[in-house]
C-alpha cells in the first residue's frame, strides 16, 4: 500500500496550526488491520527475505568460528593484556545491553504514559531487545578465561561450600541481566498471545495451526481473559520500568565500583541509562525505517513515530552530552591528579581520535534532529541513527580502554588493539542479531494486531484517539 500523502489532509486555512500526523492512517477497520499485518506472516515468503536471512546467517557463522577458536586457544587470541584486561568483549556487552533498552522502555514506560503511538512499534522493539540482550549476554561468558566454569557465578549449593561473592558488580550483572532477559521475554510473550490466537485462526496449514495454537495457549479473547490480561500486562509494565532503569545502572556499576580513574564516577548510572535509551532508539529506527518500507507498513509506522523517536533520541542524546561535560568538569574540580590526567589523556592521548569521533557521532551530528525536516525524512534520520550507533560503541570503547591503559603507575602503562578475532566476535554477534530478527519478522507479527485494532476509528479500545 502506497504512503498516504499527509499534506493532502491538511485542513485548509490552518497552515500555522502544527500538524500532527496520525499514528494510524485513516480508512482502517479492525478487520483490515488484522488482515494486513497477519498477511505479512502468513503470505508467501518474499525472495529478498531469503537473501537477507542467508547473509546474516553467514555473518553469524563468523561468530561461531571466532568463538570456537577462542575456546580452543584462550582469550589470548584477543588484544587484551596488562594493563588492559577488558577489551572488545566488555565494550560489545555494554553496547548490546544498551541497545536492548529501547524495547522494554517503549513497551513499558510509554504504555504507562499512555503514549498510544508506541503501539505500532513496541512489539518490534521488544523483539529487538530480546535479541540484543541475547547477544550481550554471551560476552560476559566469552570473555572469561575459563568460560566452562561460568556457572560458578550463580548461587547454587555445591560440594565446595562456596557461593558467589555478592559484593562484586559482576554478580550484580548476572542477576540484572538474567532478570532483564526473563522479564523482557515474558512481557513480549504475553503481548504476543492474542496475536498468536489471531494467526492460529488465520493459519491455513496444519503445521502453522498447531504452532500458533500451541503458543497461543487457547486464547479466546473472552472479556474475563482480557480483564486479567490487561491487569497483568499493566503490572508487568510497572515492573519492567524500574527494571529497565536498573539494568544499565548495574552495568555502569561494573565500572563505577572500580577504582580506576575514568570508571570511579557517580555520574555513571544516569549517564549510562540515558546513553542506553539513546542508542536503543537509534537502533529501533535503524531497523524500522528499512523494514517499514520493505513490508509497506508506512500506514502503521507513520512519520509521527519517526518524529517521536527522533525527539526521544534528541533528549537522551543531550543528557549523554551533558554526561561527557560533567566527566570533564568532575576531573577538573576533583583536584584528583589521576582523574585529571585520565581526561587529559582521553582527549589528547594516543586514543584521542576515538574520543573526537565519539563526540562527532554522539554530540554533534544528532543536533540535526532539531530540524523537523530531518526528523520526518527517513533517509537523513536513518543516517543520523547510524552515527549514533557507531558513536555509542566508541563511547564504551573510550570508557573501557582509555581508562585502563594508563592508570596509576606509569610503569604499567600500555596500549590496546583489537585483533581479527575481536572483530570476528563482534561482527559475528551482529549476524546473530539479524538472523534472529529476520526469523522474527517472518514468523511473528511485528506489530501488535490486537492493540492496533483498538486504534481503528469507531473501536472502543482504550487510549483510542479520534483522528482530526
Amino acid at each position: 500500500m502506497a504512503t498516504i500523502d499527509e499534506r493532502a489532509m491538511l485542513p485548509d486555512g490552518l497552515p500555522e496550526k502544527p500538524y500532527r500526523p496520525p499514528v494510524l492512517a485513516p480508512g482502517y477497520t479492525p478487520g483490515t488491520v488484522t488482515d494486513k499485518i497477519s498477511s505479512v506472516v502468513l503470505a508467501k515468503t518474499p525472495r529478498w527475505w531469503y537473501v537477507a536471512f542467508g547473509l546474516s546467517f553467514c555473518v553469524m557463522m563468523l561468530f561461531l568460528a571466532s568463538v570456537t577458536w577462542l575456546f580452543a586457544k584462550g582469550v589470548g587470541i584477543w588484544g587484551v593484556n596488562q594493563p588492559v584486561g577488558w577489551g572488545f568483549a566488555i565494550v560489545n556487552f555494554v553496547w548490546w545491553i544498551g541497545i536492548g533498552h529501547a524495547g522494554t522502555l517503549i513497551s513499558a514506560i510509554l504504555l504507562l504514559l499512555r503514549q498510544e503511538w508506541r503501539t505500532s512499534i513496541n512489539r518490534f522493539a521488544e523483539a529487538m531487545t530480546l535479541f540484543a540482550v541475547a547477544c550481550a549476554g554471551m560476552f560476559p561468558v566469552l570473555h572469561l578465561g575459563r568460560p566452562w566454569l561460568a556457572y560458578w557465578l550463580f548461587p547454587y549449593p555445591n560440594t565446595m561450600g562456596l557461593w558467589p561473592q555478592f559484593r562484586s558488580p559482576l554478580i550484580w550483572d548476572v542477576f540484572a541481566v538474567s532478570t532483564y532477559a526473563t522479564v523482557s521475554l515474558l512481557f513480549w510473550y504475553v503481548g504476543l498471545i492474542p496475536d498468536l490466537a489471531t494467526l492460529r485462526d488465520r493459519a491455513k496449514n496444519r503445521v502453522s495451526q498447531i504452532f500458533y495454537g500451541f503458543f497461543s495457549m487457547g486464547w479466546r479473547g473472552s472479556a474475563s481473559h482480557w480483564h486479567n490480561y490487561e491487569a497483568a500486562y499493566l503490572l508487568l509494565a510497572g515492573l519492567a520500568t524500574p527494571l529497565v532503569v536498573s539494568v544499565h545502572t548495574v552495568v555502569s556499576f561494573d565500572f563505577a565500583i572500580g577504582i580506576v580513574p575514568g570508571w570511579h564516577s557517580t555520574i555513571f548510572p544516569p549517564y549510562f541509562v540515558a546513553g542506553a535509551i539513546y542508542d536503543g532508539f537509534a537502533m529501533v529506527l535503524t531497523l524500522t525505517i528499512p523494514l517499514r518500507a520493505a513490508f509497506g507498513l508506512q500506514d502503521f509506522i507513520t512519520t509521527r513515530h519517526l518524529q517521536n523517536m527522533a525527539k526521544v533520541m534528541l533528549a537522551t542524546g543531550l543528557i549523554v552530552v551533558y554526561g561527557y561535560g560533567i566527566e570533564i568538569f568532575f576531573s577538573a574540580y576533583s583536584a584528583n591528579r589521576y582523574e585529571q590526567f585520565m581526561i587529559l589523556n582521553r582527549i589528547t592521548g594516543p586514543y584521542h581520535l576515538h574520543w573526537i569521533l565519539l563526540i562527532v557521532c554522539n554530540a554533534i551530528v544528532p543536533q540535526l534532529l532539531w530540524f523537523r525536516k530531518v526528523r520526518t525524512n527517513p533517509v537523513p534520520l536513518w543516517i543520523v541513527c547510524m552515527f549514533v550507533n557507531v558513536g555509542m560503541w566508541l563511547e564504551r570503547f573510550v570508557i573501557v580502554i582509555t581508562s585502563l591503559h594508563r592508570d596509576f603507575l606509569p610503569s604499567s602503562w600500555g596500549m590496546y588493539r583489537g585483533t581479527i578475532f575481536d572483530w570476528g566476535t563482534f561482527i559475528g554477534t551482529i549476524g546473530l542479531f539479524l538472523t534472529l530478527l529476520f526469523l522474527f519478522i517472518r514468523f511473528l507479527p511485528m506489530i501488535s494486531i490486537a492493540e492496533m485494532r483498538a486504534l481503528t476509528p469507531g473501536s472502543r479500545g482504550e487510549g483510542m484517539e479520534t483522528p482530526e
Binding site: G161, F175, T182, R202, M217, S224, Y229, L236, V250
Partner: protein, 183 residues
C-alpha cells in the same frame, strides 16, 4: 443468514455474533438485565465497557504480584545475608561481612523477577490457560473473534437457560448470526 436448529444431546450454550462493539455492549446489558449470569463475551481487543457490563471489576492480579515481589525480595536478601555471615564468612577487601549496600542490587533484581513470574503465571492461572481445546472453537464463525467481530455466549449451564427462549432473546439483539456451541 439462517439459523439451523438440530437436536443435539449436549449443548455448551448459544453464541451470538455482532458486527460492532456497541451491539455487543447493548446485548450484554440486556442479557444481564434478564438475569443471566453464565454469560461470556468475546472481543478482538479489550473493551472496558464489556467487562463492566459483565460485572468484572476487581482482579486478583495485583495481590499475586505483590506476594511475588515480597517473596523474591526477602528471599534474595536472606540468601546473601546467610552466605556472607554463616555459610562461608570471608574477609573480602576489608569490607564488613554484612555489606548491606552491596546486597541491595541482587535483592532488587530478585524482587522484580519473582513479581514478574507471578504476574505472568498468575494471569495464566486466573484465565485457566493453557486451554487449547474449548467448545467455542467448534463454531466456525468464531474465528472472527480474533479478527473484527464480537461474540456473546450464554452457557447452557445457566439456570435460566432455555433453548428456545434464549435463542429468541439473542436474535432480538440484532446479531449477525446466532449459533449453537457444542461441547
Amino acid at each position: 443468514m439462517s439459523i439451523h436448529i438440530e437436536e443435539r444431546p449436549i449443548l455448551y450454550g448459544l453464541m451470538a455474533e455482532f458486527d460492532t462493539p456497541e451491539d455487543l455492549i447493548r446485548a450484554v446489558e440486556r442479557v444481564r438485565a434478564t438475569g443471566f449470569r453464565q454469560v461470556e463475551a468475546y472481543t478482538p481487543y479489550p473493551i472496558e465497557e464489556v467487562s463492566h457490563a459483565l460485572g468484572l471489576h476487581h482482579s486478583w492480579m495485583s495481590l499475586l504480584v505483590l506476594i511475588g515481589g515480597i517473596l523474591g525480595g526477602t528471599g534474595g536478601y536472606l540468601l546473601q545475608y546467610w552466605v556472607n555471615l554463616y555459610a562461608y564468612p570471608m574477609n573480602v577487601g576489608g569490607r564488613p561481612m554484612h555489606s548491606w549496600p552491596a546486597f541491595i542490587v541482587p535483592t532488587f533484581e530478585c524482587t522484580i523477577l519473582m513479581a514478574a513470574l507471578f504476574a505472568v503465571f498468575g494471569m495464566f492461572a486466573l484465565n485457566g490457560l493453557p486451554q487449547p481445546y474449548h467448545p467455542v472453537f467448534n463454531v466456525p464463525r468464531f474465528a472472527e473473534a480474533s479478527r473484527a467481530h464480537f461474540f456473546l455466549v450464554i452457557k447452557a449451564a445457566d439456570p435460566r437457560f432455555d433453548r428456545q427462549a434464549t435463542e429468541k432473546l439473542l436474535s432480538d439483539l440484532n446479531p449477525s448470526e446466532v449459533a449453537e456451541v457444542e461441547v
